[in-house]
């Protein structure tokens, strides 16, 4: 049974438990999917409205891209769980002899890299979704503007949450080259993602205070 296919209540219950998965990575992917879906909802509430006809094509293309990202983030809930299990097992390996110690270290290093993969992808996908909200905030129905704000806040928490999962893994990885590569891939996206999220949220607040 896939995590994306259990009920919201069941997902929250198993998340709260001490079960190895889902953890912070899966939670970030879900929060990202929620944020992306709110963007899509706003697109759907804008499309067909005369007042926003000039933006119709752009909004339709945002909706299309958001739909893709939403699907990928939902898939990542389960991919993150699958990629975390080997690490969870590796932590339990014996290290009584020198040989066992060496084997455990090698297995851990490999498992840590594997556990890093999906959080890195979540950072990339939520960044894309944040950029879609940046485009959407000026072109959407003002009746739904608050939902752009909620959406971008969910995405902000998702990109930060994914990055925390990247950090906790690379902290234990010995391959410095790999660590630098991952940092280079993610850090600027997270920084810019937070910045853009805050800008979009400020626009929403201003629009609501008029």
């Amino acid at each position: 049974m896939k995590l994306a296919d259990i009920t919201c209540t069941e997902f929250i219950d198993v998340l709260a438990s001490k079960a190895a998965v889902p953890g912070g990575g899966g939670a970030a992917a879900l929060a990202g999917a929620v944020g992306t879906a709110l963007g899509s909802m706003v697109c759907n509430l804008t499309i067909g409205k005369k007042k926003y006809a000039q933006y119709e094509d752009i909004v339709k293309s945002i909706l299309l891209k958001a739909g893709e990202i939403q699907k990928e983030l939902l898939k990542m809930i389960d991919e993150d769980a699958e990629n975390f299990l080997p690490l969870s097992k590796a932590y339990g390996m014996k290290k009584d002899t020198e040989e066992q110690k060496k084997l455990k270290e090698e297995t851990l290093e490999k498992a840590l890299k594997q556990a890093c993969e999906v959080p890195v992808s979540i950072v990339k996908k939520t960044y894309e979704a944040i950029k879609l909200h940046e485009e959407l905030v000026d072109k959407c129905s003002k009746l739904a503007i608050s939902d752009v704000g909620v959406g971008v806040q969910c995405l902000r928490s998702a990109i930060i949450g994914a990055q925390l999962n990247v950090i906790i893994n690379i902290n234990s990885i010995k391959d410095k080259e790999y660590v630098e590569k991952v940092k280079k891939e993610t850090e600027h996206l997270v920084e810019e993602g937070i910045e853009v999220s805050d800008e979009v949220y400020d626009k929403v607040l201003k629009s609501l205070s008029k």
Copy 2:
């Protein structure tokens, strides 16, 4: 069928659609439940560990409180939907005659207040959950510290998301006394909630950079 009892994928799909519910309020409640559940997970991963035995009682009491909040936030996904439907209907009422106009105005005012209720409760509950994370961050297993960060970020997005839903409703409410009451109930919680979330997140980052 309750929204909390459909699968995560179905919830995200209906959220993305133009259906009247769920909207930003339900999304905020779910994000809050995810954040609260991560706090519980960290409690569960801390309880029973010798290294943190001195905090065992406090962590157990945090877990108990988080469990209650989690249940209430999940209930609020559906309560928010139920409370939003009358407003959605009221917007569609005719206003051709003076009589219809007056009836629509009265119905809208009542429906707006009803639609405000659950977002106000989400603000209160997510604030409580943020305070639990504040307590937890210094007393939990360091192996799970990143998840306190993800949890508090989800809660930060939830409290802001709920407040955006409060604002968009009170913007149309004419009863100034009611509006002031709601502002007084929520604004300081949101402000402090964001502040505490950022502090907890900074502590997590510092702990991870050691």
